[in-house]
């Protein structure tokens, strides 16, 4: 990979859009919703300059279905939204998972339920990791923790999508989307736009059978076979889990957090470390597949766990599932609607550390 030398100072949302263009995303379908508007706004001109196409769809539903169409045609494509819009996109995401088309979807998570607010939150964790629509499916979910990572993971998302023929969700939040940081943009060396597209609809030629992108399996046993096939695919992803571990080696207490909250918690961990307190941070980067093995390895070292989320307790289920045979995790909620500071995390962490 060739790193370009320049540094640019941009928002997380723009980093996602620029990352997509670096990954040669050619179609973008969007709909206005705060706090993700920078992505469609950027794309409305920049993807055209890059030789692609942009549609402001009539609805979130339509944007996601346009994505399904472009992805079925084997073209690198993307949509983005925020929480209420993500509920509407789930129909098409279920079809994309069922008919195995590769696409990238961005959720800049805001407060809920309902209309909630436009501030940061992590209330969409379940929706993002359990297959948010109907039927049994999962999709890859990546959770960047800073603006550079938002850029990097967007590039990765396209590779994962096409390698595994799956929708890939980038789960950001309003802090990450709206925060400006310097990043080093880079461009992947080589992307073949047509290689490995032997499943995509490209027009039937005389030398091959017609191709169907579908998720309807009515014949006896057919759907069970498809579900079995999907399950095997999801299980194969467990080796692709990724996480960041910060000061975990000698820690007595491990804070489990992702995204922006992990970053805030990291500040608290740093402060406590200066005071000699043995606290560490475990940050899942892949939320699905969840880095259970890495977490379990820590649990086997007789450490305690505290999960902190910007919701009422969702990822803590995955933490507990990962370590259930050896340990357990406490949980501290930051209620959506509130913006936490590193200071506010001191008390709950201290309590856990002291075993209270």
């Amino acid at each position: 990979m060739t790193k370009q030398p320049e540094r640019i100072f941009i928002k997380g949302n723009e980093a996602i859009a620029r990352g997509a263009l670096a990954a040669r995303c050619k179609c973008f379908f969007g709909y206005p919703i705060t706090p993700q508007n920078d992505i469609p706004e950027f794309m409305s001109t920049e993807i055209i300059k890059a030789g692609g196409d942009f549609v402001q769809a009539e609805s979130e539903v339509a944007a996601a279905n346009m994505l399904l169409g472009a992805a079925a045609a084997g073209i690198r494509s993307m949509t983005s939204s925020s929480s209420p819009g993500m509920s509407l996109k789930q129909e098409a995401i279920s079809y994309m998972a069922g008919s195995e088309v590769p696409a990238v979807i961005v959720n800049v998570n805001r407060g809920g339920p309902g209309l909630g607010d436009i501030g940061p939150a992590q209330g969409d964790y379940y929706q993002s990791t359990r297959g948010g629509g109907h039927g049994d499916y999962r999709h890859f979910t990546l959770a960047p923790g800073n603006v550079q990572e938002a850029y990097d993971l967007t590039i990765r998302a396209f590779d994962i999508a096409f390698e595994h023929r799956t929708p890939v969700l980038i789960l950001a939040d309003a802090i990450l989307g709206q925060m400006k940081e310097p990043i080093t943009p880079w461009t992947p060396e080589k992307i073949d736009d047509e290689a490995g597209r032997d499943w995509a609809i490209t027009g039937k030629t005389a030398d091959r059978e017609k191709r169907l992108i579908k998720s309807l399996f009515l014949a006896e046993g057919e759907l069970a076979e498809q579900n079995k096939h999907l399950q095997a695919k999801y299980e194969s992803w467990t080796k692709l889990t990724e996480c960041e571990q910060f000061e975990t080696e000698d820690a007595d207490l491990i804070i489990c957090a992702y995204g922006s909250i992990a970053r805030i918690a990291k500040s608290t961990v740093r402060k406590f470390r200066k005071e000699g307190k043995k606290v560490g941070l475990f940050r899942p980067i892949t939320l699905y597949p969840f880095p259970s093995a890495q977490l379990k390895a820590l649990a086997e070292q007789d450490k305690r766990f505290l999960t902190i989320e910007h919701n009422l307790g969702q990822m803590v289920d995955d933490v507990r599932l990962a370590i259930r045979t050896v340990s357990d995790s406490d949980f501290f909620p930051i209620y959506p609607g509130n913006l936490p500071t590193p200071d506010e995390l001191e008390e709950p962490i201290l309590k856990c550390l002291e075993g209270k």
Partner: protein
């Protein structure tokens, strides 16, 4: 011993796969499929076609036409086709949708794809009923028509009036061609094919969005014989859904 000289005068289009369909006796989907197939052959579009199928009786269209296809969620075919066309603008992209799919759950998608002037073609089969799910009321069900969800007949004051889609579509800026034909008689079938050809040409020559509504029979859910169904199209449907070209911005066309 007399020698038999047989001359084949009627054959299936090459692009239509040689197999039995799942359609009920007297259903007009077979005719609509054939017209589409004939045109894809005549216009030599088969190898370039990316078809978007919809939800309803015609979901299995992809089993009958030998072209690449994507299956859209219910009502979303115009959005999916938009994505396909934007991704591969040099290909021929069409949707094939029924009245429940297009005029009810997919109303937003068809209106906006048409209004954007997407370079796609839409084949809209209107038989005034949800066929595959067992004969429920559709947005095009006629006043007084009995269905499983309006067993006493559609009531205008509580269930609204049947929607005339072609007229609505013709009123939108991005539309190049909008016409309504019928599949009840040989004469009307021939005219319907001309409508479809014009709509397809609007895409191949880049003029814009083409829309053709086809009035069709559903003897099973109308509880009629195929002949009675044809008569119903003539006596009840055509008076409410008039046939003709409602918009045509192509060179030799004109609004009528």
């Amino acid at each position: 011993m007399s020698e038999i000289n047989e001359k084949l005068v009627f054959d299936k289009p090459e692009i239509i796969i040689d197999r039995a369909t799942h359609y009920c006796p007297g259903c007009h989907h077979g005719i609509a499929h054939r017209l589409v197939g004939e045109l894809l052959d005549e216009m030599e579009l088969g190898g370039n076609t990316l078809m978007t199928t919809s939800i309803g009786c015609s979901v299995f269209l992809y089993n009958y036409l030998n072209v690449d296809a994507v299956e859209a969620p219910h009502g979303r075919a115009p959005a999916v086709a938009t994505g396909v066309k934007r991704a591969r603008p040099d290909h021929f992209v069409f949707t094939y949708q029924g009245d429940g799919d297009l005029a009810s759950i997919g109303m937003a998608e068809i209106m906006h794809a048409a209004n954007r002037g997407e370079k796609i073609s839409v084949v809209f089969v209107n038989n005034t009923v949800y066929g595959m799910t067992g004969g429920q009321m559709a947005p095009t069900t006629l006043i007084g028509q009995k269905t499983t969800t309006c067993p006493n007949g559609r009531c205008e004051t509580t269930q609204g009036s049947p929607i005339r889609m072609t007229e609505i579509i013709a009123s939108l800026g991005g539309v190049a061609y909008a016409a309504r034909g019928s599949l009840d008689s040989v004469k009307n079938i021939r005219t319907a094919k001309k409508h479809l050809k014009k709509a397809f040409e609007c895409q191949t020559n880049g003029t814009g969005f083409g829309f053709v509504e086809l009035l069709s029979g559903c003897p099973t859910n109308w509880k009629m014989t195929p002949l009675q169904a044809n008569e119903r199209i003539q006596n009840d449907m055509i008076p409410y859904f008039p046939l003709g070209v409602f918009k045509d911005i192509s060179e030799d066309g004109g609004i009528c």
